[in-house]
Structure formats: C-alpha cells, structure tokens
Symmetry: C2
Subunit: 594 residues, 2 copies
Amino acid sequence: MPTLRIALAQVNPTVGDLSGNAALVRRWSRTAADAGAPIVVFPEMMLTGYPVEDLVFRESFVAASRATLHQLAADLAADDLGDVAVLVGYLDADGPPRTSSRAIEGKGPRNALAVLHGGRVVVSYFKHHLPNYGVFDEDRYFVSGDTLNVVRLGGVDVALTICEDIWQAGGPFAAAREAGVGLVVSVNGSPYELNKDDVRLPLVRRRAAEAGATVAYVNMVGGQDELVFDGDSMIVAADGTLLARGPRFVEHLLVHDLDLPAAETATASSVSDRPGADEIADGMRISRMTISESLPAPAGPPAVGGVEEPVTDEAEVWQALVVGLRDYVNKNGFPSVVLGLSGGIDSAVAATIAVDALGPERVAGVSMPSQHSSQHSRDDAADLARRTGLDYRVEPIQPMVDTFLANLSLSGLAVENLQARVRGVLLMALSNQEGHLVLTTGNKSELAVGYSTLYGDSVGGFNPIKDVWKTLVWKLARWRNDDAARRGQQPPIPESSIGKPPSAELSPGQLDSDTLPEYSVLDPILIGYVDGDLGRDGLVAAGHDPAVVDRVLRMVDLAEYKRRQSAPGTKTSIKAFGRDRRLPITNRWREHSS
Amino acid sequence: MPTLRIALAQVNPTVGDLSGNAALVRRWSRTAADAGAPIVVFPEMMLTGYPVEDLVFRESFVAASRATLHQLAADLAADDLGDVAVLVGYLDADGPPRTSSRAIEGKGPRNALAVLHGGRVVVSYFKHHLPNYGVFDEDRYFVSGDTLNVVRLGGVDVALTICEDIWQAGGPFAAAREAGVGLVVSVNGSPYELNKDDVRLPLVRRRAAEAGATVAYVNMVGGQDELVFDGDSMIVAADGTLLARGPRFVEHLLVHDLDLPAAETATASSVSDRPGADEIADGMRISRMTISESLPAPAGPPAVGGVEEPVTDEAEVWQALVVGLRDYVNKNGFPSVVLGLSGGIDSAVAATIAVDALGPERVAGVSMPSQHSSQHSRDDAADLARRTGLDYRVEPIQPMVDTFLANLSLSGLAVENLQARVRGVLLMALSNQEGHLVLTTGNKSELAVGYSTLYGDSVGGFNPIKDVWKTLVWKLARWRNDDAARRGQQPPIPESSIGKPPSAELSPGQLDSDTLPEYSVLDPILIGYVDGDLGRDGLVAAGHDPAVVDRVLRMVDLAEYKRRQSAPGTKTSIKAFGRDRRLPITNRWREHSS
C-alpha cells in the first residue's frame, strides 16, 4: 500500500489578480515541497478567484487565465518544483459562451482544475455538477464537463472533482468508484454559512463511502464581496474516519501521510502523456493519465495533519465577520474605515469587528451628537473608543440640522430622518477628504423591518453586521467581552451599551420598543419569514402570535416598499449567513392579513 | 379548412397582484368574447406577473397562484364565458424547489400555461426551454417540462408553448411539427431591448417553418422594476407571411381570423377530458386533449388584426422609458415624483419623460442653485418648468453648504461632492414630507465612468435614463422636440439645454470635457466595453485610439472602485437596453495598460 504525502493549501486568492494568485501558488507549492509532499492541492478557481461573475464573458480574461496557467507551470519548473504535482483551479473555455451567436453545443467556458507537473499542464478536469441556487449562478456561466479525469501519482489513482460535484450523489463520485480510484481530490470555493462545518463532515463521509475511496477536501479562505470562505479543509478515509481537518478562516497548509491502495497497473496507460482507452462509468467518460507509478516513501517523521477542534457559534461568526470586513477593505485597497459611534450596541460591535480586522489605527470613529443624544450615549461612545484605541472624534450635527430646518418646512419623520442624513453627509465628506471607506452599522433585524433611514444611517460601502439579527448582535458582544476577559484583556464593549434599551435617539425619549416588538419576539418571526420562506399561516402554525405575525410581516413588506425609494437595483442581499434572497421590488403580494 | 377567430391579449399584469391580474383576464376575456373569439391568449405568468423571482420559493405564494387559477376558471364560467378557451400563464408546482431537502427528481416549481374552459382547468403545459442568461434566472426557479400539450379547438390542433421555447431550435416547435398541429400558441414575457422587434419577426418566421404551422405570439406590456415589456404580439403563417401585428408598449387585443388545417380525427381522443395515447416526438411526450371538434364559423365581417408599422428608434426608446417610469411609480403606489432641475440636458429629458408618464401635476421639479450655478442654468430650469407645466420651486443650497464648510475642514473633491449631497438630503426631505418618489437623472455614460457623486446626484429610487448613453440623450431630446413641433405643440426642452456644453457646475467654470473625452468618442468605447465585453485589445482592433481606450477603461474600472464605497450589494445593473452585467466588486482585473 503506497504512502502518499498530500498537502492541502487552503489559501486566500483575490478575484482578478491572476499574477498575485499565481504567486500564491508558487509560494505555497514551495512550502509543500519543503514538507516533502509530491502533491499539493489548491482551491476551486484559485488562479482567478471565485466567483468571477460576468468576467467569464470577457475573452481577454479567459485568455489571461489560460496564459497564466501555462506560465505558472513553467515557473514552477523553474522554481525546481517540476516534480510536485500542483492541482490548481482556473477558468478555461473550449468555446464561446452559450448565449453567444458563435455558441457550440456542449462547449463553452469551464470551471476547471489543472494538474501541473514537469513544467506542463498535464490534464484539466471540467466541473460536472454546476450549482445554480442560493449565491451560485453557474448555469449562467459554465458548461458541464462529462469526463472524470484520473491521474496516477506514485502508483495511486487519484480522481479530480470540483466543489458541487461533492454535494450531489451520482456523477463524479459514483464514477470514481467504478474507476477504482484510491483517492478523490475535491477542490472548493464553499462559502461560510452558520453551522456549515456541521454539514460538511457528514457530506464528505457520504461521498467517501460512495466513491469507496479516501477524499481530500480543500476549501479557500477569505472574503469576496458578500461571501466569506471558511477553509475547513479535511481528509476522510473510505470508512468515514476523519484523518485530518484544518482550521477555519485562516490560510493553512494541511500536510498528511495517506496509506492508499495501489492502482491495478493493467487498467492504466503506462505512457505518461497518453490517455488510456475510453471507459464509461455512471454516464461519465473516464480519462486516465499516469504521472508516476511509484514515488520514494516520505522521508523523516510521518506527517500528521491533526484535527482542529470546532469552536462555538459566536466565535465562528465573529471570525467570519472579521475576515469578511478585512478582505473587503484590503483587497479593494482602502487605507482605513470610518463609522459613526452612537453609544449603542450596533456601532459598538461593528467598531470592535473593524478594530479586530484592521487594527485600531485604521479605524476612525465619529460621535455625531444631536440635541436628542443622551449623555450616556456620548459617554458610551467615548468609552468604546478608549477601550479599543480607535481614532476618535466628536462632530456635533445640530448646526447643519438647524440650517436645513430654517430653510425648509419639515415635520415629523422628515425631521427624524434629516438628522440621520446629515450624519451620512458628514461621514461621506470625511471619506472624500481622508480616504476612509464608510461602514454602516444597521443590524439585520432593523434592516428587515425598515427601521433605518435611507441615505442616512444606510450610507456606506460595507456593513459588517448586515447579516446579524439583533439578538445575535447582543450574544456576539457578550462573547467578545467574555473572550477578552478569558485572555486577561480589557473587554472592548462598554457594559452599558449592551444592557441599555435600544434607541435611535432621533426624537425625545424614543425607544425601539415604541415601534417594534421585543427583539426576542421579532427575530424568530423574521428568521422564518426572511430566511425560511414561511408564509403567514406557516408562521402561525409554528406557534407565533397571529397579531404579531401580521404586524411584523406588514413591516417587512413596508420595508420592501421603502427600499423602492432607494437606488435602482438596490436590494437587501444578505448572503453570508442567511439566504440569497431575490424579490421583485414592484410586487403586490402581501402575506399579512389586511 | 376551419376558420378560427383568435384573440391575443397583450396586457399589463402586476407582480404579486393575483386578484388584480385575474380581474384583468376576466375583463379582456369579455372583450374577446364580444369580438366573437372562442379563444383568447394571455401572456406568460399572467396571473402572478413576471418575473416573480424568489417568491417562487414561498409555498403560500404557489398555493395562491393555483387557487386563483381555479377560482378564475369558475368565475369565467359564472361570467358566461365558459365557452371561451382562455389560455393564461401562471405559477404551478408539482414538487418542492430543487434545493429543498424534500426535492423530487424532475418535479418542482413550473412556469405553466393553463387552458381554462367550461369552468375548469382543462390542461396545463409546463415550459420546456428555461432561459438562464441576461436578465433570466429560470434554472434557479423552475423545472423543465417534457410534455407538449396539444388542444383540439374547433377541429384545429393547437400546441402550447411559452417564451424561451420559441428562442431555441428543437423541443416544442419540432415536436409540434411531428404532432401535426395547425397552430402553435407562444405566450411571452419578453423584455424590450433596442431593436428587439427586428429580431422577433424573423425568429417567429423560423419557428413557424420549423413547426410547419401558424404561430400566434403574444407578449405582455408594461414595466416591472428594471424591465419593460413591449408587446409586439403577432401572427405568422407557416409560410412566413405576417398576418397581423399589434402595437408596442400599450395594452391591446389583437383579433384575427385564421384559416387553419383541420386536425386528422384519428389521432386525437374524442373524449374531452381524457388524454390521448402517448406519442413521443423530438424527445417530448405529446399529450392531446379535445375541447371541440367544430365551432360555428365566426359571425359578421371578418376580423383582421392589422399590421402595426414600426417606429423610429428614438420613438421606441422614448415609449419604453415612459412606460418603465409610469409603471414603477403607479404599481408601487407613489402619488408623485420629485427631481432636481439643473438646467442641463439630463434633468430636462428625465423631467419630460416624467411629465409624459404621469402628467405635469404629478411631477415636482426643484432648482437647487449654488454659488457655482450659472444664470443660464437657472433660466433654463425655469423655462423647462414653464414649457412642461410641472410643479416648480427653487431651493438654494448655499446656506446648508456653508454651515457644513464652517464646521468641517473640507477641500477639493469633498467640497464639490458636498454640494451634490446637500441636494440629495433636500430631495429626500421633500420625499419624506410630501410623499414623492425621488428621481435621479444620471445618464449611462457618466454612471459608467463614475462622473457622479455617491449619495449626491445618485440619491433616488428610479432613474429614467440610467440606461441611456449621453449621445442618445441628446438624440432623444431633439426627437421629442421635433415630434412636438410636428404635432403643433410647444417643444418641451429648451434649445439651450440641448446646445450648451455639459457641466456639473460644482466648481467655477467646470465642464465635463475637462475630465472626460468628448461623448462622441467616449460612448462607442463604453458600448464596446460595457455592453460588448470587449477587452482593451478588442477595442483597439475596432479602431479606437489606444491612449483614449486606456484612459476610458481606467475610468470605468475606477468607477467600479467608487461603487465599492456605495451600499453593499449595489451594482449598476443596466437591463432595459444593454446587458445585465454582473461583475465582482472586489476584483483586481484591469483591462487598461498601466
């Protein structure tokens, strides 16, 4: 039984940065080689980043992806890494897009995985199962592959698969069993969702059983727009044993020695660059290729990848929020962020995430008190700044508000919103003047029910907590403070910001509870309606008070109405933890009764 | 050869308004019956409106669509319309969505077309070809049908198809030929694109030839968010003769007498509600159903639908913009709109579209001069108001701008943007106080290169000209004025707004040409890059100056960068005339050199 030392590189590519991503592959391939691994596996669409969306349709981009791949193969050989089999995801195409007038049936752009070896691109696998749900639009972009590529490495037959291939029964994993492989490699761009790690391990186990082979699963890490990739790379034996599991959210090379069944020599071509005879298995063509019939046994002590322990939900979410913000800011080249500090829990949590992501010197916090701002709010904002060390300043808004009021006849809600909008103008002026990205700090509950001001507190380029229900904001705040205390550090978030009743402070004595049900009542209804697609009757059947359900659904539908006043094409797309929800703006369907 | 009088109802449903849409069907079915037609055909997804997006996933919505359909069949009979075959698109489902844990292979939500007759739902066809490109996401929502339904009506075999079925060769139209039908009905939700009418007629002719049968094509009209449906219903004989063609953009009942081949009695079941024996044609099952073997010949003079003449590009675009705005405002229940009037061409065209869409009494125009506003700008804004009769007011912004400047240390671009943002706050205050929807007025050229202020002139809920290149804005203005003159009316747009060099007037003497190439140079490059997916080399090969190409591409890529400072999830989605373009926000790919 040959021993294969495999290296899984869960790294963080940037969409469109072909040369930077290729450099990442060279750097981590070097590390893998130094660890004695003859095979190193990178994530899905490693060279281009993921998802590239409509860049797929630009021929110059496809050509650049292919050229970068071939140059990378040559560069790896020049780096003296030609003996390492480097598996790297990239964008390929064997025809124009499906919608082009030049389209060819069964050809087109491909979500591809190449094996680089000996300075050349040895073989490319084209993804078979294309996801087209949730955040995925791959039927829009790619043509499905119908060939399972099997590469013999060190006498072990290794099947190549990509992401969605592992989420569906049948196809590549079933074909891999018929092809008698010893190892299935699965490369992924699998976005984080709450508790997704609890789903992944059983899934990989099912596929390992289906293939009758060990499965090596590698996933990217890092933030890309509204997605966060969480790593969680792992190796599972055919019998379901978890052999190794990497950490979450951080770049890591998981190196592990695998004892794998030797391939039956008869079934494979012995010529290294000539595919074997055609076989068909589970509707897929099997294409075989030999790189090496044997390899020297790994030198030195055995490589053991280890099994990372799971963390609490709060720790997991916090890491996701920190990584998502950090990569949005850094990959887009912003030097710093600015946000308003109200003294409330939402801006306190958002500011703490920003400080954890970027360091206090890259975070500017602005207190913008009005005549309705309480003393405790001003004090709590200053206290947060002291605790976190962020760059703090105070800019009162009353002079600007008063000038607007002196020149326009406004009353009621228009006056409340005016205050939030003056704050928005102020933050954008600081952004223009000093280069910060503006962060918004509305939680998912208030966004869902429309308890915010368009072009007021919604002004900004990134909202670290837009996908966090209010009840979870509180939990995160407590977790972060407790975690600091456990480490012997000062808790960053003032206790009074966590404990006091929420208020927008846009009118005298205003409290959220004047307008909204208690968040402990509101959030479960919102979760059912927004994330769960339950209708009114379904929510009532789930045990919620019908009158409150009607009230909440009316607020959500009115919030959709409010969004109609917002920028064209703007939807509240909430992707990282909940569902990707696409609803018509113009829409008269109402779930609530009257 | 039986004569069948067919009525094509190109009407304007509203998404989610099931009862309102059903009422539309009842009203137009009455009109069709009064015209002596035994068959009336409504557009795709008539009962729900189109597209319904993720409402598909809400079981309560699917159930309501089905219940409304059955109630509609009963109501039509109660209306004494039970003898009319009413063909109506709706949302059906024979299983949970594909992504549900309860998913069933080959079952799920369906884009469906029902035949209502005798108070019952006689049969439903499920759309076969599902579009998943451009503005369409139907692989996300629907499961493809594999049965072609053929209904015998008045002794003529009629095949049912839906929208994309007609855009692809093979499938339903090929099966219809093998099934030997006399007529194919095609119901559509086909969005307007520039010159799409020039594509549709040849397309319908090709399919009529493929099916060897007359094709009756009906399309909806009206605006839905960023889409506009343009009608253009038509009837084409098997030999390609255009028999009738409806108008564009307006509700219309196209009634026409067709001489159609009698069905061969042997091949169909003679029992009205029992499907015939299974046949397979072009991979689809044929399901036959008989409603009537004969009908009395149409009474009175022959019905002739007529053939509407095509209009100029400018007239066509203007109608699309008017309809898109009108339906957005009316379907969402806004009483009125407000927009800033600068005296320039963009706001003048946008205001004129609004007045054409809503009437002058529902349009408020606000001149918001600053110290940089020229006298001719102020005069031209007032002149436009006089010519169109809209509700006009002047709100100087200098006091508010000065208060911000007195309280913050701002310079350069931050000061320029501040003026635009104070205008945005002012318009939103009027929106809150008086209930208007705010219109923005940036043209597609300036949006593409980022020549606008985030949360400044970009504040608003709908932009009537966001998909109109600047050079087309000028053409539209001239066309609208000439058209008025032809009708003996006063041209609405002041000549000097059309003729003067464009300026943002945010700093002394500022002109667009200080920053941008001439629009006659800029627009063709933008069209190639944004709509055409050309890369730098492709644009240079098309004859553009390489230095200008680099400059423009850098501006577009920087504009994408600027959008990163905007609200999360906000993209410049441009759907009505150009492509639906989805690009990553975080993205380092650059087409320009250096």
